[in-house]
Amino acid sequence: MLRLTRTFALHTNPMTAMRKRNLIFYWLLIGVPAVVLTGTAIFSLRRIQADLARTELTRMEHFAETVAFLLEDWVAVETDGLGKTLNAFPQGQLTESLYEVRRTNSLVRNVFVWEKGKGIVLPKKDSRSAEDQLFLGRYQGFFPPGYVWEAPEDGEESTQRNVSRGCKRWIDANGLQLLVWHRVSDQRVIGIEVEMMALLAGLPVFLPESIMQRAWEKGRNLSISYDHRASIGIALVDSRGRLAQEGDIPPDAEKTTFRHHKVPLGGMCPTWELEVYWRPHSAYGDGKSILLIGGALVFLLIASLFAGGYLFARDAARERRDALQKTTFVSNVSHELKTPLTNVRLYAELLADGHARTPEAQQQYLGVIVTESERLTRLINNVLDFGRLEQQRRVFHLETINLAAWLQSTAHALRGITDDAEMTVNVVCPPDLCARVDRDALSQVLLNVIDNACKYARSGKVIDITAREEARRADARPPNLTLSVSDRGPGMEAHHAQRIFRRFYRVDDSTTASVGGCGLGLSIAKQLMQGMGGDICWKPRDGGGSTFLLTMLKP
């Protein structure tokens, strides 16, 4: 009994008692945090995306500023070089040198000489060259005879007070113009008008390979790869439009997904601005994808919750059913044990008190005690067998027996039970029929079946046991023997045919009180028969009652 209780305790799950309400509670317990988690994840993703965009913007600003600085620097170096050229002219051949530099240097558009009190003296006012006249038209007014040549305050040469050279910036209808000048003497200044087109033509070439790469490397702290052709466009613009550009800038970049950032160049090139265009660099596109991913996550979560919950609930229901059957079983067994024990004790006490005075009466009392103890033993054996079978520890010793002889002796041994039930057993068996079985197991099966008949079919009075050899089967396996045990009792509904062999199953629980039993007998019988390579099944008997067919192997 102790061992039984422990086995059942192991099989009993605390979740068994969980109700539907609890299921919903658990679902909520998991589902609500899941939804909250998903929401938080989406929120965080968006935050990260915004952060990325911000970082990208900062980075592009930094990039644009660096490029702008390098460009400014480049223009300054170029104009400074021109200034140095002027400085190197020999005194006596200023005009020749100026014309020579204009002839050969592609960065020089025009040259000029200014004299104090006279203004611009070269090119000459009466020059018939159209270019000279255009130059005079542009600058004569700017440099009157009394003009004071000074470097601009924020110019790069303004460190000295009395500077000898510098660079002038003008903005006219054609955009920015640069003039490099050099003071030859107190009276005379020579200068160069920079060929802005040549300067510009140098820029785009300058931009991609060196400047952009350099600018990019200077600020390398993000893992965005440098690929100016694919994702970054850079443009130099002034009031007239784009002067130069590099990279992929669609004509309507402002309207598309491109973003841009402007940085003024300042310094030598006050009207120039640098624009950087880029496609937003984001792994999740425009936030819609985040919602999509988030939604999919939530859906998956809920779907798996439902699936898991369903499986869980099904298992729980099954366990609950098993547990219920086991509980019933325990109470049945207790009840079954109690009845014979009470009888044994009662008759023992009667004997002890000397109520049985005659030897016949004493013999009768002792008979009852023996019968009840046998019943008790049978019951306990059943329970022990059940435990052994459950744990698959039962070992079958198959041997060949003569079925007719075995039936005769067993029927005789069962007389005690059948006589109690006032039932007659008729055995029909060919005399030389042999079977390959475990003798003890088969005895137990027969005992269980007959005990069953005695319990439920007492009204039929007769039990027929018929053994016969089955016809040869199609699959050429050795023909089986069948042993049918029929009663003439009330029978049962056909849908119980399979279930009666399940452990703890009772056809009608209402009979539990009147008829002893714990729902193990047939279950054990089935396991034993299968263990020996045979089987047991139920079918209704013609003319009312039940027939149990025991199939077993021929030797």
């Binding site: 050969t104 060259s129 054609n174 060929e195 087109m197 040549a198 033509a201 002067l243």
Partner: protein, 450 residues
């Protein structure tokens, strides 16, 4: 019939065959293998004792170039692949470019730049040793986008500059059918770019396709950089143009020509007509990137002559030419001089007229006047332009009457001006007529294409 207007009529090649051949004015005709130089006043005899202003023509003529010894070329092909080039044009342009590459030798250097709003160097400057890879790079070009001519030129110049230290002939061929709409877009801007490229010894030849390109932009770029200019209405002609352009580029007799003209006492240079140059006192300097075999390039200088005594001869100017012989890559130098005689006989003075120079001068002046008038039409001042065209027509007709030997050339221009007058009076030039005129002006002003 005017499908292709790139050919030019022969002009300025009939030297001293007229009546005044007797007069030995064409003093120095210094002979060198690659270049010949002449200094010629328009009239070899001036009226004695009176000051006068007259054109002096200084001409350079390239000698024949032996086919075997042509100089290697550093060529950059710049192809417009903007949306408007779609279809036949881009196909023909590619075909033409491939044909050009096929003509180059392993000694030559080639690069290919393509552009829309974006500029891409599909073939970086390299020796023509792996033609199939260059050709397949060109084949892969697809049309799209807008037109960034300025940036493409800058990129092309950068490709050329990689090899300017070599003694190569540097040439960019720009093919476009559109208006520059990214970056600088004014013809003036491109003229300035042309001037600066010229200083680096890089010439740009432009090929305008169809009727939508900006001919002012294209011609000023090629004109200022001493390149050739073509107008192709039908893209079928492109391969022929490229072939011709390449032929001309391969036919260069001399490169890096620097002309310095020292005018003698009593003569003062006043103006260089129709060309960029520098007048510094009595010195005139000019540069040419190259001179083709058999080609004549000249400069007309309006010169003031102080009075001279009867029956005296005066030295006019000495031209000093420095150049690089394209075949041998050696620096060469030659000089030429010219002189005039003074006479009281008006008949002698009149008959000393060199009508070839007169024709050159008239046609150059006509080109300048036409350019000015076309600009006026562009500005909507059709009436003013019409006046100029009318004046030019009359002038050319007068010249034709007075000098029968140059009458055909003068009359042909006079007829053109008559039509221009009609166009100007109606207020606008149609695209084809304008392109034809601009092209013609350009040819006359630059004596381009051999």
């Amino acid at each position: 019939m005017n499908r292709c207007r790139w050919s030019i009529r022969p002009q300025g090649r009939r030297f001293g065959v007229a009546a005044l051949a007797v007069v030995a004015l064409a003093g120095g005709q210094a002979q060198a293998s690659a270049v010949t130089c002449r200094v010629e006043p328009m009239r070899s005899v001036l009226t004695a004792d009176s000051s006068e202003t007259m054109m002096v023509k200084v001409s350079l003529k390239g000698g024949s170039v032996p086919a075997a010894s042509r100089a290697p070329i550093n060529l950059c092909l710049v192809l417009d692949r903007s949306g408007s080039m779609q279809g036949d044009r881009i196909a023909r342009a590619k075909e033409a470019a491939i044909a050009a590459v096929e003509r180059l030798t392993p000694e030559d250097i080639v690069s290919v730049v393509i552009f829309d709003q974006q500029i891409e160097t599909i073939v970086p400057a390299q020796f023509v040793r792996n033609k199939p890879s260059i050709v397949s790079a060109i084949r892969a070009v697809q049309s799209r986008g807008s037109t960034a001519i300025f940036g493409a030129m800058a990129q092309a110049a950068a490709e050329i500059r990689k090899n300017t230290s070599r003694e190569y002939l540097n040439r960019i061929i720009l093919l476009s059918d559109g208006q520059a709409n990214v970056g600088p877009a004014q013809p003036g801007d491109f003229g300035r770019l042309g001037v600066s490229l010229m200083k680096e010894g890089i010439s740009v030849s432009t090929v305008g396709v169809g009727l939508d390109f900006n001919e002012d932009l294209m011609t000023s770029l090629s004109g200022k950089s001493d390149g050739n200019s073509y107008f192709v209405e039908n893209s079928d002609d492109l391969p022929r143009i490229f072939s011709s352009e390449l032929g001309s580029a391969l036919n260069v007799a001399a490169r890096g020509l620097s002309l310095r003209i020292e005018f003698a006492a009593g003569t003062t240079p006043l103006e260089i007509v129709g060309r960029e140059g520098t007048i510094n006192g009595a010195t005139v300097t000019l540069d040419f990137n190259q001179l083709y075999g058999g080609q004549e390039k000249y400069v007309l200088i309006r010169t003031a002559f102080s009075p001279g005594k009867d029956e005296t001869t005066r030295h006019v100017a000495t031209a000093d030419v420095k150049y690089v012989d394209a075949a041998s890559s050696r620096s060469e130098r030659l000089t030429a001089t010219g002189s005039v005689r003074f006479s009281k006989s008006q008949e002698i003075v009149r008959s000393s007229m060199n009508t070839d120079i007169l024709r050159d001068a008239e046609l150059t002046e006509d080109a300048i006047a036409t350019e000015k008038a076309i600009r006026l039409v562009d500005e909507g001042k059709g009436k003013e332009a019409a006046k100029i065209f009318e004046a030019q027509r009359r002038r050319l007709e007068d010249v034709a009457k007075m000098h029968p030997s140059i009458a055909p050339a003068a009359k042909s221009r006079a007829d053109a001006q008559y039509m221009n007058f009609d166009r100007a009076a109606s207020g606008s030039f149609d695209s084809r007529a304008r392109k034809t005129e601009v092209q013609d002006m350009y040819m006359r002003a630059n004596q381009q294409v051999p």
